[in-house]
């Protein structure tokens, strides 16, 4: 690793001051992506601003009808939170299946979202759950946050402070992991909104389907969303597939295989939601 300076501010304001003083500085969250990149000398920040000392970036809490997760909350905490397991079961299951236990004990939701790896798991959850990314300056809806491969709507030196989600007890995530890295070859997150009577809404946005790992960035499959609004069954989407030409083709999987996996993972996620609805203890 090249040498660098290290700071551990105790507030967001102090972190911003440091970031403005040192234009080549980078924020350090769990370090599970940044430190390996620096070890390979693919990144050379002048300074690391460690966000671990900032209390306001921690914690999971209710805000009205939403759950807000601090940027520095580790994957393992999200997997273990009883509130998230109940109100956002698919998100807890997703967090429980990232990488391995040691990566989950250090990696954070804010770091993963800021990094916007096209194969990261969280982007699918954020888009399907209609989440909001809160930064020190503004609130960004997930739909417009992920703009491309490793690209987001964040400005340089914009600090993610937290992510908030509406409550969606009916949601599920299915991924087909790369057996070596555990990153998804394809991951599909499906969320179904409930109206106040506890029934699913027949509005156009009542079901959201978001796919990660398959393209250059997370995307929604509107045709599946429409079909699932009409009939929330795996069969309703069994004939719908995403065009293979637009998908990643690499040594891990070709575009056609990924296209096939999207439909299969989506059908399984729908089946999970149906099973959970009839037996809440089955939530994965």
């Amino acid at each position: 690793m090249y040498s660098f300076g290290y700071f551990r501010p105790s507030s967001v304001e102090e972190a911003l001051t440091k970031l403005n003083e040192a234009p080549e500085a980078k924020m350090l969250a769990g370090g599970q992506t940044l430190l390996p990149t620096m070890k390979q000398r693919l990144a050379r920040p002048s300074d690391l601003i460690d966000l671990a000392g900032i209390e306001s970036l921690r914690g999971i809490r209710r805000e009205g009808h939403r759950i807000r997760i601090g940027a520095m909350v580790r994957h393992s905490k999200i997997a273990e939170s009883s509130d998230i397991r109940q109100s956002l079961p698919g998100l807890a299951a997703l967090a429980a299946d990232i990488g391995d236990p040691q990566v989950r004990n250090l990696g954070t939701i804010g770091g993963s979202v800021a990094n916007a790896d096209p194969a990261a798991d969280y982007p699918a959850a954020l888009v399907a759950l209609d989440a909001i990314v809160h930064t020190h300056a503004r609130d960004l809806p997930a739909d417009t946050f992920f703009t491309g491969m490793f690209e987001t709507a964040l400005d340089e030196r914009e600090i993610i402070t937290g992510i908030s989600f509406p409550l969606r007890p009916l949601c599920a995530y299915r991924k087909f992991p790369n057996p070596a890295s555990r990153y998804p070859l394809v991951g599909v997150f499906i969320a179904r909104a409930l109206n106040e009577a506890g029934d699913h809404e027949r509005v156009s946005d009542a079901v959201r389907v978001a796919v990660t790992g398959a393209g250059s960035s997370v995307f929604r499959v509107r045709e599946m969303e429409k079909a699932l609004c009409e009939s929330f069954t795996p069969e309703a989407i069994s004939e719908i597939s995403v065009a293979a030409d637009d998908l990643n083709s690499d040594i891990h999987a070709g575009g056609e295989y990924r296209a096939h996996l999207i439909t299969v993972m989506a059908m399984r996620a729908v089946a999970d939601i149906i099973a959970a609805r009839s037996n809440p203890s089955l939530v994965r």
Binding site: M1, Y2, S3, F4, G5, Y6, R8, G31, Q32, L35, P36, K39, L48, D50, A52, S76, G99, D100, P101, Q102, V103, N105, L106, R182
Partner: protein, 171 residues
């Protein structure tokens, strides 16, 4: 540049002056000579470097020494007491859970974090938990057996500790 840090290392209060870029694995091995923490891949894949920071298992090759300032760090050297192996270490010996032994410290530190979450893990749970620990020798089978047996022994020891000592009331 360098930074002063202090931490609780296997129960002892210690301090050190480190370069910002020093990895936790190097701090343990080079500064404190705790060479039971191994560096296998140095790329977050193998888990030979797993230690506990504030009770949770982490890969010490993917953490900076400065990040553990003020923390409690536990390594494989912190497990045995008075020359008696920790039940999880003993289980690895009894069940032939190692051959060359290179992966073993990481396996055991990872296993102890597992037991914290699942005091009586079944085989599937153990295998899933070991996602981040690679072994080139054993084929994992005896490692899994050792961890299940080690967890049982730990449970027994806990129960023993909870039971009032029958001799205590005598005098």
């Amino acid at each position: 540049m360098s930074i002063d840090i202090s931490l609780d290392l296997n129960g002892d209060a210690v301090s050190a002056t480190v370069e910002e870029r020093t990895l936790l694995a190097s701090l343990l091995r080079d500064r404190f000579r705790l060479t039971g923490t191994h560096i296998g891949c140095d790329t977050s894949q193998c888990g030979a470097c797993v230690v506990h920071v504030d009770g949770r298992s982490v890969k010490s090759c993917a953490m900076l020494a400065v990040q553990v300032d003020g923390c409690e760090v536990r390594t494989i050297e912190g497990l045995a007491s008075d020359g008696v192996l920790h039940p999880m270490q003993q289980a690895f010996q009894d069940h032939h859970g190692l051959q060359c032994g290179f992966c073993t410290p990481g396996m055991i530190m990872s296993a102890l974090d597992l037991v914290r979450h699942h005091p009586q893990p079944d085989e599937a749970t153990v295998r899933r938990w070991l996602e981040g620990n690679l072994c080139r020798c054993t084929g994992y089978h005896n490692i899994v057996k050792a961890i299940i047996a080690g967890a049982k022994e730990m449970q027994k020891e806990m129960q023993k500790a909870d039971r009032p000592d029958p001799t205590a009331a005598i005098d």
